[in-house]
Symmetry: C2
């Protein structure tokens, strides 16, 4: 493994020749925001040496050829909304900010697909699809800021995964630039394909470590004209969770979203948004979104929903008019952080039938450590976003205690068949944890793939895993705490 | 790249120690069926040196350790129903027949999943799921003979892909033995997972070249109580195909299968099955299967189906009672071969909105070459099973002419955004074609992954692609025509 080269004035000039000097920022002029992402600001800054804004696939290819020849690390960056440090340039080098590549290239409503450049904002894709009477089903909570290539890089989930799957399921075709600067199109606009290895699904979720996405062909779905939202309030989390399995098994209701929000988070959110969002009854809540083509269908589903809610001891269930519930849902992370700036956030995923067991373990553990927790999970797919906050524990004890706590929490998660990340990715933040808990054979397979794609290890090094033992003084070990 | 070692008596004894001597067959005693699969018998025989029947994952692991140390090729075999030569031991060596590993390990109807060993027959999985009121959605036409690990290895599609996706979409978790003999569990029983690379989807469709599947956790779906089948007869293929887009866009009908069968194949099938299967009107047909929970829902869908059929100039549309249409659909390949033993079969997939353009090109080309064709495609997902038959062309001219024809057909397919294989895989039969048509960068990525997993190239060598230039005298170039 070579050490990386430094970015010199000569290299900066070369980059300027490719993209235009106005699209290169070097050294001290680089804005601070490029030294962190939405999940790592508090954990330290790691600046790139040079920031480049490529305008097209050829720009990306030429930049990567230079970087690969000279051994300069390259970190791709989309919306900067990642929560695991995936876009943080751990080893300096080049940050490729893809924001200029933000065109919607083509939409075919009849064949239900859209071709977009990597930095199209996810909400814009959703809105353009809507304008054509169609649904783009990828729906991460950061949709107003994140971009499609970032969603693919983390295989983002979001609010509609229970019916439509995750971002990887929405992708027909990817144009990717390899670390060697070759432009290749993977996959196809096909419902099935057994023509060699399925490389699209390997790139999805690889967090920018295998190639730079320069164009995407995404699937669009039929859009139901009615998407009513309901709120069901329960006296405790266990009762709320018990409804999830019922909802998923029911053949009438067929929900597209089931979101769990605990009682305290409801109050935090309303305070943060400075408005009444939820219903008068206070408790642990499920937000349930349904699809329907007629009002009669909504009515039928609503009757069935009330039935099963009441069997599970629901305190209140009501339709929430309009769309105000979703901005509130999306703001959850921010609302909690305002009230609890000290804390750690998790993205754990467990089998849906193990959510109750997971929350039970979470309660036991937080009680034992005298912590508190907040929960706002994609309950329909088992993805539990939780924030652990110090509660009674002093600032002095917190860092050490929370590490001990997390070790126990992850161990419990794996015992239930869960994993560290449902949709945010491993990035920088969770790689040390992953190394401790993953089957070494699985890790070795991932590392072998990385080496096969990127033998010089220039592309987003130090993400998901390191390529060498952390004991050696290599260039890509963790630098953030 | 080393040449492979020969299987000696000593090695056979070692294998016997692992699996029991009764589970090893050596040399001349190996039945002929192991020298071909369902798609390659006519194209030549290629025997293994030794045939081994492992009983469990440890057996597989120990066998692979020996093979990897001694450089003996290993070809896994499931039901032997593959159509691309994937299970043919091109370089001799060991065939691992997994038939002893055929237990259903566990079914959890509430959580809707099943854990099975690799050689459980697909139809048995379907039936056990049915007995628990659930659906296993993988449904290849060979379901009465093929096994689940083979379905995963080719990422088999089948009759329900339009609603439920292909086999890879049905898999939660895979236990795999690596070429080095390590046992690893990939994936998880999770609706989403961003914890490192998505290796399950890489193994699916890799045709036994990256690892041996020893256990599978598959998803089960809610089973609709009513699954009515309809037949719509059209005056020509174009009219039949024009209905496909309507059916997929319709929000009431929501079909689970749309199968296209041409007029001549209908007659061939009825002659082969020696019974009236279709309706009295003769023409190019669509078989349409729907799901419903009530008779009222069936009625509503049926009314809508008739409406859109008649707009498209349908000659007749009728419900086909019971399940007799599906055994007929599954027998298509055999029925055609009885009447037309000389011919070539294709597994081309195109975007669904390009089926009409594809069939139009197919007609033009067959006319130009004076060939005929039969078609029975999974029209709902663009996967066109066609058989090209000599028609007026003499036996002498046929081999040369059909090669010229195929080159033009594949070129037209790729121009439409299609690919060589929708569900059968590349195996041995299509690798030379693939090499000529694939983007070399994509091929190089696949080869790099293969090398990363299997540096000694012992696992199913010579499938999908070769690892060296065909000009060199390497051990794994094409031996079949």
């Amino acid at each position: 493994m070579p050490r990386y080269a430094k970015v010199t004035k000569t290299i900066v000039n070369q980059l300027g020749t490719i993209v235009g000097t106005e699209n290169v920022i070097w050294g001290q002029a680089i804005p601070e925001q490029y030294a962190y992402d939405a999940g790592t600001r508090k954990e330290g800054l790691s600046y790139p040496e040079v920031l480049v804004f490529p305008g097209n696939r050829q720009d990306v290819a030429e930049i990567l050829k230079i970087a690969n020849n000279l051994l300069i690390p390259v970190t791709p960056r989309g919306g900067g909304t990642g929560l695991a440090g995936g876009a943080v340039p751990l080893n300096g080098g080049i940050v490729l900010d893809l924001r200029r590549m933000n065109r919607i290239v083509h939409i075919d409503p009849a064949a239900r697909y859209m071709v977009v450049e990597p930095a199209v904002r996810t909400m814009d894709i959703q809105q353009v699809a809507h304008q054509h009477g169609l649904l783009y089903a990828g729906d991460p909570c950061s949709s107003d800021e994140c971009v499609i290539a970032g969603n693919i890089a983390t295989n983002a989930g979001g609010n509609k995964a229970i019916k439509y799957g995750v971002t990887g399921d929405q992708v027909y075709e990817l144009e990717v630039v390899t670390p060697q600067g070759e432009i290749v199109t993977l996959g196809g606009r096909l419902k099935k394909n057994s023509t060699g290895y399925g490389l699209v699904r390997l790139i999805a979720g690889s967090e920018g470590t295998l190639g730079i996405i320069t164009q995407v062909t995404i699937k669009l779905q039929k859009l139901a004209p009615l998407l009513p939202n309901f709120l069901a309030v329960f006296p405790n989390l266990a009762a709320a969770i018990s409804l999830v399995g019922d909802l998923l098994a029911d053949t009438v209701i067929d929900p597209i979203s089931i979101e769990l929000i605990d009682r305290q988070t409801v109050l935090d959110l309303e305070r943060y948004q400075q408005q009444k969002i939820f219903v008068d009854a206070i408790g642990d809540c499920l937000i349930i979104q349904l699809e329907a083509y007629t009002q009669a269908e909504v009515q039928k589903k609503w009757i069935k929903l009330q039935e099963i809610c009441h069997i599970r001891g629901c305190l209140a269930v009501a339709e929430i008019e309009g769309e105000k519930i979703w901005p509130a849902r999306r703001a959850w992370g921010k609302a909690i952080e305002v009230d609890h700036p000290v804390g750690v956030s998790e993205d754990i995923v467990v089998p849906v039938d193990q959510i109750e067991a997971f929350v039970s373990q979470l309660k036991t553990l937080t009680r034992a450590f005298q912590f508190q927790f907040r929960i706002a999970g994609h309950a329909g797919d088992g993805n539990m976003h939780i924030r652990i906050i110090p509660g009674e524990v002093s600032a002095l004890e917190w860092p050490n205690e929370v590490n001990k706590f997390r070790e126990k929490l992850y161990s419990a998660t794996y015992d239930l068949g869960g994993r560290l990340s449902g949709e945010h990715g491993i990035g920088l933040k969770r790689k040390a944890i992953l190394r401790g808990i993953i089957d070494p054979v699985e890790l070795a397979l991932m590392q072998a793939i990385k080496k096969a794609f990127d033998p010089n290890h220039i592309l987003n090094p130090g993400k998901i895993f390191d390529m060498m033992s952390p004991a050696t003084n290599n260039a890509d070990t963790v630098i953030l705490p």
